[in-house]
């Protein structure tokens, strides 16, 4: 039932142009200032078209920086990120992002927020209205079209942000801990909705979170990052079919596996800190 609603809404959105959505990091490093520890070191990562990749790691491991580089908002110190073979240098509507804190324009209504990018890129008014309506219906907010962001709940705001990102028909959707500020119930609801949207649209998604549970629910592949310097520690495939039953045994097994990886990592960092103190 849910899937039907989402896919029919998505069909109202015209299909995206040629972009296939292969996002590739090649030897990407980032350091802030000459003497500082590298936030990211030699990251090699390829997100395949239509793949849902989730990056997890302890806080401060540079996972948000990774996303900012892919978005073109931060420049890599070394290496390149490319989308379908073209090197990324600036932000653009082919790589839209959902931020951790909702970054909706507070003076625009939900509908105007969703339509903003279409307006900026010169989409004609009638087409714009159709696409905005479809996108809002997709996140089930058609009744909140005229509301201002501060009149919406946190979960609704993030759904508007998702609609605003998806309406641009990006080749890649970037998500920077989009649900971390929400309560657990709302988060589960949004996980289900995101699954459903992704099943219908099959966009490449690069998703960053510190929550292993969230990663296993959503990902095709989980990338575990190291801290100090930020390096890829391990990649875990999640071979479960979508849409997933979040309460299944398989999910909790994989969660335990990935948690172990991160625990090792946290222990290693703590041990290093202790050694420094001695």
């Amino acid at each position: 039932m849910r899937t039907v609603t989402a896919s029919s809404a998505l069909r109202a959105v015209p299909a995206s142009g040629g972009a296939s959505g292969r996002l590739e990091f090649a030897r990407v490093s980032k350091h802030f200032g000459p003497d500082s520890v590298e936030a990211l070191q030699g990251i090699d990562l390829a997100c395949h078209p239509g793949e849902f990749v989730v990056v997890v790691g302890p806080s401060g491991c540079g996972k948000s920086t990774l996303l900012a580089i892919a978005a073109g908002m931060t420049a890599a110190s070394e290496g390149t990120v490319s989308l379908d073979g073209r090197v990324i240098r600036t932000p653009g509507p082919d790589r839209t992002m959902v931020f951790q804190e909702h970054a909706l324009f507070p003076w625009l209504t939900a509908a105007q927020n969703v339509g903003f990018g279409l307006q900026m890129t010169g989409v004609p008014r009638t087409e714009r209205e159709d696409r905005v309506t479809a996108a809002l219906r997709m996140v089930r907010l058609q009744n909140a079209a005229a509301k201002l962001p501060h009149e919406l709940s946190g979960g609704m705001r993030q759904r508007v942000a998702i609609a605003r990102a998806l309406v641009m028909e990006p080749a890649v959707l970037l998500m920077d801990e989009p649900f971390s500020a929400l309560d657990a119930q709302t988060r589960t609801l949004l996980h289900a909705q995101l699954q459903e949207l992704w099943c219908a649209a099959r966009k490449t998604v690069l998703f960053v979170t510190h929550s292993v549970g969230e990663a296993v629910r959503l990902a095709d592949r989980i990338v575990v990052l190291h801290t100090n310097p930020g390096r890829i520690r391990r990649e875990v495939q999640v071979p479960l079919p979508h849409p997933r039953n979040f309460d299944s045994r398989d999910i909790s097994d994989i969660v335990a596996l990935v948690r172990g990886e991160i625990a090792d990592e946290v222990n290693r960092v703590n041990a290093e800190l202790d050694a420094d103190l001695v």
């Binding site: 978005a71 908002m73 600036t90 932000p91 653009g92 509507p93 790589r95 839209t96 992002m97 931020f99 804190e101 970054a103 909706l104 324009f105 507070p106 003076w107 903003f116 990018g117 307006q119 900026m120 890129t121 201002l148 962001p149 501060h150 009149e151 605003r164 641009m168």
Partner: protein, 292 residues
């Protein structure tokens, strides 16, 4: 706002308003009463009734509220005055002249302040060069500009304009710069991501994001402009006589009641314009942004 639930707030606001009014009426009554019982001399310090007489006299109506109570109270001992002279009365004339000066000077101030505020916000170099100086100049009382204005522009309208603009535009520039700095950088990033470029970015994001700042700087600028104008008019004696001039007339004729009356009018005008125009504008913008 028009929901039934807002009705109690309204009536509560009205009762608190009435209470404030009652306190002030009691104070005025006590002042007037003390005056009549102790018998202070009106040329040393006026009673509320004298101030009322002086105000009405400036409007071309002669009254005698300050006279001893008698059968002809509150008519003036010397009859005279008619409502027909209202428009040509000194107070109305002065208000009109001051209003025109204020509107013109404030407009110039806004243009200058906006340009320089934007420059300081956009270019760190401009801010480093001008910011501290502007902050310093903003603390200067506006009448300090008067001698310079007289020497450079002479005793003319342009001299008054100079004092008004100097007294207000620094504050506008600083308030605008500070306000724009508060607009969250994440909105800029979101706009870039959604394809907003160059002037579109300014027109659709930077400018609207700065609206609360603009509203705040307008309000700040107006209060500075108003104070500067009154100061300048007090000193510049020109053919066209503004409200500040009436204060000076009161002093020259040793008419204490008129001096107090003009001061009260200044307070009332400053407060009314701020409340009715700028505070409301600021509140509207803040409500729209979910900040109020």
């Amino acid at each position: 706002m028009s929901t039934p639930s807002s009705t109690p707030t309204w009536s509560r606001r009205r009762t608190s308003g009435l209470r404030v009014l009652a306190v002030w009426l009691a104070l005025l009554a006590a002042w007037e009463g003390a005056y009549r019982i102790i018998g202070w001399r009106p040329w040393l310090f006026p009673a509320p009734s004298h101030v009322l007489d002086a105000t009405l006299a400036m409007l071309g109506v002669k009254t005698g509220f300050g006279e001893p109570l008698g059968p002809r109270w509150p008519l003036a001992a010397s009859a005279g005055g008619s409502l027909g002279g209202l428009v040509s009365s000194p107070l109305v004339q002065a208000l009109a002249i001051s209003a025109v000066r204020l509107a013109l000077g404030f407009a110039i101030s806004l243009v200058l302040g906006t340009i320089l505020g934007l420059l300081m916000w956009r270019y760190p170099f401009a801010d480093a060069a001008l910011g501290p100086a502007f902050l310093g100049l903003q603390t200067l009382p506006s009448v300090v500009w008067v001698p310079l204005a007289i020497l450079v522009f002479g005793i003319r309208e342009s001299g008054i304009m100079f004092v008004l603009v100097m007294g207000s535009f620094f504050a506008i520039a600083i308030a605008l710069r500070d306000g724009l700095r508060q607009s969250p950088p994440i909105l800029r990033q979101a706009a870039l991501m959604l394809g907003a470029r160059r002037w579109k970015l300014y027109r659709h994001v930077v400018l609207p994001a700065g609206l609360p700042a603009v509203a705040g700087s307008l309000r700040q600028g107006f209060s500075f402009a108003w104070r500067s104008l009154m100061g300048a008019e007090l000193i510049f004696v020109l053919q066209r006589r503004g409200l500040g001039f009436l204060l000076n007339v009161g002093r020259e004729f040793a008419d204490v009641a008129q001096v107090v009356a003009v001061m009260l009018i200044m307070v009332l005008i400053g407060m009314t314009v701020d409340r009715l125009l700028f505070a409301r504008l600021e509140l509207r913008v803040r409500e729209r942004f979910g900040l109020a």
